[in-house]
Amino acid sequence: MSKLIINRRGLLKAGAVGGLALSTPMHFMRGAYAADASCNMPTGANVVFGFNIPLSGPYADEGADELKAYQLAVKHLNGEGDGGMLPTFSSKALKGNGVLGKKVTFVSGDTQTKADAARDSAKRMIEKEKAIMITGGSSSAEAIAVQSLCQDMGVIFMSCLTHSNDTTGKDKKRYGFRHFFNAYMSGVALGPVLGEVYGKDRKAYHLTADYTWGWTQEESMKKSTEAQGWKTVNAVRTPLGAGDFSQYLTPVLSSGADVLILNHYGKDMVNSLTQAVQFGMRAKQVNGKNFEIVVPLFSELMAQGAGDAIKGIYGTANWDWKLDNDGTKAFVKSFGKEYGVPPSQAAQTAYAQAILYADACERAGTFFAPAVIKALEGFEFDGLGNGKTLYRDSDHQCFKDVLVVQGKEKPKDKYDLLEVKKIVAAKDVTYDPAIFGGDLGPADAKTCG
């Protein structure tokens, strides 16, 4: 049995070491701990962002626009170009010298607009390419799948185009953050406008894409239109990617409904809307009123696909390049100079998410995921194009103004298809997170799984 002998010299040495340790700055200590504890903490001069976007499949054009925005964000973070929205962003933590002094590089993967491919691609970027964060996606099914993976691996996921209530509702995760608005907000913003424009005595028929986003969109629109006094005649689920919707549209003609609500997005929206117009629904009179079509979630890229059919149709959008605020102007200028076209709402939300993550790292003073999560939770900001915005801590949903838009009757060109009819204030679309349930789960640091 050994005996512990403490002499004067030993005591002095131990005291010196202990004193040095106690006097070390906290952030230095946290960094040292985090290197072992948080997934893919950067060790060299670079930090790797993972852009997980659909480069094939029905949302490939939106994915291409997202990638352009991410590349622009990386440029601006590294101090290249005109800085985009960094000068207008209310947080001044980013200095244009990368993130925490490390140059931002990126890897990208094709989600193919499929949940399983999106998950595989994200996993590869985390495991093989050492991405410290994942951002992207163009469907709620993708977002929910990748968010769940990121929670398990301890990597922050900044989702892009996902509109289902479930993403920050029943499927919310501590490691997932959504800047885009959701179906509930679309319903709350659009319902009163529809009541005002089309009257209170209306009968609505829903055609709904049969997956998580469609279900929550239908539920939200039913709720908001019924609150206006409308009746729901029928709600029919249609398979995703049906192509020809004629067999679902013809029953609408004899249903007694005078409004058709298309809870479709992407290619389905283009097809169902075009075909509804072909069936003469815009020119029809039912119950002594003009028959109307509503598309709750609009996208400029999809509007281009629908052509003239989009004229006069009401819907909602997260952002529009024609908005009159400093952030939007700066972003449009920067994006337009780089690519010769104005950015889509997909591009704006992608850019904002990349900047918000980088800013949170700077403010936290570390890449350590739990600390970055803390920096994002409850963060209030402005200057990224949407006005004052809050990243709510209880569900990681951004709350900001929602745009009610209408297809322009006489657009100047293919980038001028939507007109902002009303800006609904963030406070009017804010809701109690408890209504959608879910649990964020723990913020424990994980070493990639």
């Binding site: 094939s56 499949g57 029905p58 949302y59 490939a60 054009d61 291409a64 029928n234 029919v236 398979p239 990617g241 192509g243 020809d244 004629s246 067999q247 679902y248 013809t250 029953p251 003609l253 004899s254 290619k267 283009v270 097809n271 075009t274 075909q275 072909q278 069936f279 003469g280 020119a283 029809k284 890229l301 999809m302 281009q304 696909g305 629908a306 052509g307 003239d308 059919a309 390049w321 102007k329 449009v332 200028k333 920067s334 994006f335 337009g336 100079k337 010769g340 104005p342």
Partner: protein, 341 residues
């Protein structure tokens, strides 16, 4: 009653597209014995013939106007239509009728594509197992659709029907039922167009010497070859004709479904089911099964049916295929000995 008539019309319309694609598939299979998974891509290429023709007609001269600036500070582009500048009112009419006029362009283009496809690739797989043929043609379909995606993007590109046919026909008036059955003019035109093409193909095979030789070759190519007829060359032309039929089906479908690079794949699987249900190698069977399955699919989507059997609209075609193949293993009009070795 009006709902039933509308669903019959929908079914016939959809069935027209299935029948045209299945007809081409059967022609290729019956003559060359090749299971062509690139046939859907030919439908898609036909649709993009219409898109390309429209793009050419709507080419614009772009000039920069430094007095007007874009939101990002560069000179604004002023665009003027070249065709309208050259041809005046005739140019406007040509743009308006670009979809039907593009048929004239699509016929030679699709014939050449079909012949090149057969001579350049598919002929090397005649004696290979069907699995090899499926793999190579499926690969070819993916290559073709990726090429289209590269040049035209992934989003659907809407093509307008001529303004005169953009509205709806009051089918109910013809049946003495008032205005209860509005049906898009262009869909009716598509139905009659598909019936016309089917009639022309059958007449060509039935009433021309060339067609007679092809039919004889489908029955017994060796004997026809022994008679000194170059049956392979004729079959190459048949492949070209099948490509033209699929291409024309695609051209005329563009105002119904805005074309994108993936539209061929969406139709391919269903069309194969149509061929199998109709009977491998049977042209009449392919047409009959096309219309039958189109109508059944439409009826299965009715709310009254779906409330009894939820989800039936998504499985009806496969369900019918299973039932028909169990009771009639050769399909509705299948010939003995085809694909039975």
């Amino acid at each position: 009653m009006d709902a039933i008539i509308l669903q019959i019309l929908n079914g016939l319309d959809k069935g027209g597209a299935y029948a045209l694609i299945a007809l081409g598939l059967t022609l290729v299979f019956g003559t060359l014995g090749v299971v062509n998974f690139a046939h859907g891509a030919l439908f898609m290429l036909g649709a993009f013939c219409a898109v390309t023709f429209n793009k050419l007609l709507t080419l614009e001269k772009v000039t920069l106007d430094p007095t007007q600036l874009t939101p990002w500070g560069t000179a604004a582009e002023i665009k003027t239509s070249l065709v309208e500048a050259w041809l005046g009112e005739y140019g406007k009419v040509l743009v308006n009728y670009s979809v039907p006029v593009s048929i004239i362009v699509a016929i030679p283009v699709m014939l050449i594509i079909g012949i090149v496809m057969e001579r350049g690739l598919i002929r090397h797989f005649y004696k290979r197992p069907h699995a090899d043929q499926i793999l190579v043609t499926f690969g070819l379909a993916i290559v073709l659709q990726e090429i289209i995606k590269h040049f035209y993007g992934a989003n659907p590109i809407p093509q307008a029907a001529p303004a005169a046919f953009a509205g709806t026909a009051q089918v109910g008036m013809l049946l003495g039922m008032g205005d209860a059955i509005p049906y898009p003019w262009w869909r009716l035109i598509y139905l009659f167009f598909s019936l016309g093409i089917i009639g022309i193909v059958f007449a060509f095979l039935q009433f021309t010497t060339y067609g007679m030789v092809v039919r004889a070759g489908m029955r017994d190519r060796e004997t026809v070859g022994l008679l000194g007829i170059d049956i392979e060359r004729r079959f190459t032309v048949v492949f070209g004709i099948a490509a033209v039929v699929a291409g024309l089906a695609g051209v005329m479908y563009t105002p119904i479904l805005p074309p994108d690079y993936h539209m061929g794949m969406d139709f391919l699987v269903l069309s194969f089911v149509v061929v199998v249900v109709g009977g491998m190698g049977s042209l009449g069977g392919a047409v009959a099964a096309g219309f039958l399955l189109g109508i059944l699919q439409s009826f299965a989507s009715m709310n009254e049916i779906k409330s009894i059997i939820p989800g039936i609209d998504q499985i009806i075609i496969y369900l019918v295929a299973v039932v028909i193949l169990l009771t009639m293993p050769r399909g509705l009009m299948g010939r003995k000995g085809v694909m039975e070795d």
